[in-house]
Amino acid sequence: MQQLTPRPRRGFLPIRTNAFDRGFIGVVLLVAIHLFWLRFLEAYLPLWCATVLSLVIGVIVVRKG
């Protein structure tokens, strides 16, 4: 029978995660980084830096997490 849920695996995150979990963690981090940036760092660095940073972190989490 075809398995719809991706298989969980262990990466650098402290829990076993499947692809959906890692995608979710990536989105959670993306929102958190943008909100943090808007509040504390936007006066010094533009917001697109936060977008680039969160995309990089998102890719790392999805591939290695």
């Binding site: 076993r16 909100l35 808007l38």
Partner: protein, 294 residues
């Protein structure tokens, strides 16, 4: 026809309902959150304004205070309900006279609408007239004024939530306790374990999924509480009980600031999801990962 196609066909009505009533409103709110839509503005149509609502939101002290108050309310309410609910569930596991009647009476608050709960507690606490304020002042000498003292207002909202929702916690924990196997408890008693050891090493780990589900349901409910508090205190005194749901209501309806209200709603949803996920990771996923790696 392939079995997977038939499966998808069976799922289609549910997926369609979920899409129409779940996903579309969410996407709509998401889009509105990036606009400056305000019905009282000179141009009362939505215009895309990027992350301006979120920029305003992270500097808005009223929102941050409301979020902190909501978090405090949730922690106080859910922890108290869990402790009281557990003791009541343990009580209902034993036999005592008039148990059935007591259980029915105990469950009655669940059937009362939140707005009626708020109205009832409002009547209970009217200064000088409500029984609660009258007897507290007469017997304990406590000046009980919800419209004056912020801490009294806060703890009364917690107490009201406790009164309303502890029965739900009791019932779910009672269901969990009733379903536990008897053997581990008997073996622990034979081995000489005391009550606390039995609770800590047997009951609590076996009850963990039920506790987690109960905490999820109650935390999500407490984080979006509006109507009860609105009836009891109206968010006052000042903004002492203006929880985030109530604050969003004030921004969206009287002020018709739909764009900003949508952004606040999304932030609340985000925090609720993150909190529940962190709780899940702390209580279940980490433990399961640890067991798997052994």
């Amino acid at each position: 026809m392939r079995s997977s196609t038939i499966g998808w066909l069976f799922l289609a009505p549910t997926l369609l309902i979920l899409l129409v009533f779940g996903m579309l409103p969410f996407v709509y709110v998401l889009v509105i959150g990036f606009t400056d839509w305000n019905a009282f503005a000179a141009v009362a149509t939505p215009h895309f304004n990027g992350v301006e609502n979120y920029r305003r939101l992270v500097f808005d002290d009223q929102v941050l205070t409301a979020l902190w108050l909501t978090l405090r309310f949730t922690i106080f309410a859910v922890v108290s309900e869990l402790i009281l609910g557990y003791f009541l569930a343990q009580l209902f596991m034993r036999d005592f006279p008039l148990k059935g009647l007591f259980r029915t009476l105990h469950t009655l608050p669940l059937m009362v609408a939140p707005i009626a709960v708020g109205a009832t507690w409002r009547l209970l606490t009217v200064p000088g007239l409500g029984p609660l304020s009258y007897y507290l002042e007469r017997w304990a000498g406590i000046e009980y004024r919800l419209n004056t003292y912020a801490s009294q207002a806060f703890f009364t909202t917690v107490l009201m939530d406790l009164w309303h929702w502890t029965p739900l916690v009791t019932l779910t924990l009672l269901a969990g306790l009733s379903a536990l196997p008897k053997d581990p408890f008997e073996q622990a008693q034979i081995d000489g374990a005391n009550r606390f050891q039995i609770f800590w090493h047997i009951t609590l780990p076996m009850l963990r999924p039920v506790i987690l589900t109960t905490v999820f349901i109650r935390a999500m409910d407490a984080l979006r509480t509006v109507d009860e508090v609105w009836m009891l205190t109206g968010g006052g005194p000042g903004a002492a009980t203006r929880y985030i749901g109530l604050h969003i209501w004030r921004v969206v309806f009287p002020k018709t600031d739909y764009g900003y209200g949508a952004a606040m709603s999304l932030l609340t949803l985000y925090l609720t999801i993150v909190l529940c996920w962190l709780l899940y990771v702390a209580l279940v996923a980490r433990k399961r990962s640890g067991e798997d790696s052994r």
